[in-house]
């Protein structure tokens, strides 16, 4: 099976978020970056499918220079090669604009399976994989925890709300968005890290793939969220705060 996995580099989870001067995005200067969580599961699913059925795993990522480190991480975990779409203006593109870039790069690869994580931890659109399916004219399923090969294609386990699941049969080629938790993530081995250095990373300029499109949806400004409730913050040392909380639970909430 030939599998293309589209991955995104996002700010590290614990990274401080500071709104930039223009109020349209966060200060990126001293951020740490990481592989988006559900994309890590998409990569894992692809690597496991390759181990079972053979084939090739190609990772694809769009973004500036720094994205290279996340691509190397995916190669170190076992992906065979990578495509890096050099793109400085990812933030100016809406979900469709980004998916168009990715789809144009995927098309000539002609894969059996296109995988993405189900949503990014930064913008959280949760749309890229589904739009890719539409642009590449592939059947798709989203929120997938597990993929199994069948006689006619694949059977996938899809997460539904409130602890329910559903199996879906799809023919190949197909596109899937992967939910976290379906498999155990692997770490890159030292050997893997070493090998990654020799693997092919093909760089394509975004401009070669598509002209920067007029975005249909524009992010005007960002802000800190408004509080829905007034939180009573219990301060002091850990012991003082704990004692204050016990008082509240006892005398205000009557729960002790």
């Amino acid at each position: 099976m030939k599998i293309v996995v589209a991955i995104k580099q996002v700010p590290e989870r614990d990274a401080p978020v500071r709104i930039d001067a223009a109020g349209r995005w966060i200060e990126e200067a001293d951020l740490q970056w990481a592989l988006n969580e559900s994309d890590a599961y998409a990569l894992e699913e692809a690597l496991q499918l390759k181990e079972l059925h053979g084939g090739e795993v190609v990772v694809l990522s769009a973004g500036p220079e720094r994205v290279g480190s996340t691509i190397r991480e995916a190669l170190a975990k076992g992906a065979d090669r990578a495509i890096h779409i050099d793109c400085e203006d990812l933030g100016q593109r809406d979900a469709l604009g980004v998916a168009r870039l990715l789809a144009t790069a995927i098309q000539p690869e002609d894969p059996d399976l296109v995988l993405t994580g189900l949503q990014s931890d930064d913008l959280g659109y949760g749309q890229t994989g589904v739009i890719l399916a539409e642009l590449l004219n592939l059947p798709h399923a989203s929120l997938i925890l597990h993929v199994e090969k069948s006689d006619t294609g694949i059977t996938v386990k899809r997460e539904l709300e409130e602890g329910w699941f559903q199996n879906i049969d799809l023919p190949l080629p197909a596109a899937l968005t992967i939910q976290s938790g379906g498999a155990k993530l692997r770490y890159a081995t030292l050997m893997g890290i070493k090998r990654a250095k020799t693997k092919e990373v093909r760089r394509i300029a975004a401009a070669e793939l598509s002209a920067p499109p007029e975005a249909a949806v524009v992010l005007d400004r960002i802000a800190l969220p408004q509080k829905q409730k007034i939180t009573q913050v219990l301060s002091g040392s850990a012991q003082e705060a704990a004692a204050a909380l016990v008082e509240k639970l006892k005398f205000e909430v009557h729960a002790l």
Binding site: V17, I19, I26, D94, A95, L96, G97, A99, D121, G124, Y125, Q127, V130, I131, A133, E134, L135, P139, L143, E159, L160, E162, G163, W164, F165, Q166, N167, D169, L170, S180, G181, E214, A215, A216, V217, V218, L219, D220, R221, I222, A223, L224, P225, Q226, K227, Q228, T231, Q232, V233, L234, S235, A238, A241, A242, A243, L245, V246, L249, A255, L256
Partner: protein, 323 residues
Amino acid sequence: MSGILVVLEDREGRIGRISWEAVAAALQLSSFARQPVHAALLGADTSTVAAAVAAKAVDGVVRVEHPLLQSYTSDGYTHALEQLIRARQPDFVVFPHTYQVRDFTPALAARFGQSLIGDVTSIADGPLFTRQLMQGRLTGTYRHNGSGPCFVSVQSGAFRSDSVTTGTAPVESFTPSLEAAQIRTRPGAPFRAAAQTVDLGSAQLIVSVGRGIKEADNLPLVQDLAAALGAELAASRPICDNGWLPMERQVGSSGQTVAPKVYIAIGISGAIQHLVGMKASQCIVAINKDPDAPIFEVADYGIVGDLFEVVPALTAAIKAAKQ
């Protein structure tokens, strides 16, 4: 082109709360955009749910019916709605942000050269749409640019379903042309995981642990607290994804919905998919080292600090108080 189309979800013959919230959002949008609101229902037979919606203050109800819409498929819904939208040419198409809507609306919007403004939490004049970024640590305000329908989905709990008043709306039918060959996926019947052994839904006290706990080996810290309180132990998704606690202890949109007297969230950031499962709790306590963590937006009491110091202190204080 004009009008607002709100597409509702039929859940086993009923309109769920989140779909009524989408109607509320559409009505609010109509107060800015000054356009009529029509509600669409998809299925093989939508008579019962259509009657329920026609008794509300919308301007019309459209029954989009075809035998191939009996059960949900992305292909069936995308083709059917594409035809309806081309025929009616609404300015706005509003959806509830359910897992089903996540599954097909990005493809539907792309067919019109559009991007969905998804998981919207509020709508202001403009119209401007607000949604969360960075897992709830920031909000972003979006606007639609240019022509063509604007696709919007609204977050569960963000609009008030009880603001939808009664009325009498005309009902019309729309029959999309669909062929079996257009539907490329075959969905199976929904099933649940193995029998549940814990009932978090009826627990009075819940201690819930998130990724802040860092390692499975640290879990005894929160287990001790739960034992001292006589509370059930619950968790956010990453804890269950890692297999540190069974999935039946996961609280949130994919897991359990709980409403205990006290919910203590420890090292949990407060992403919306977690909040929907616990925000109805009577009293919410948050212990988190980040004073800006979104969990504090819903907490009654908060301790900003390192859980590795606060939790043992709390366990000791509770033991002392119970003596």
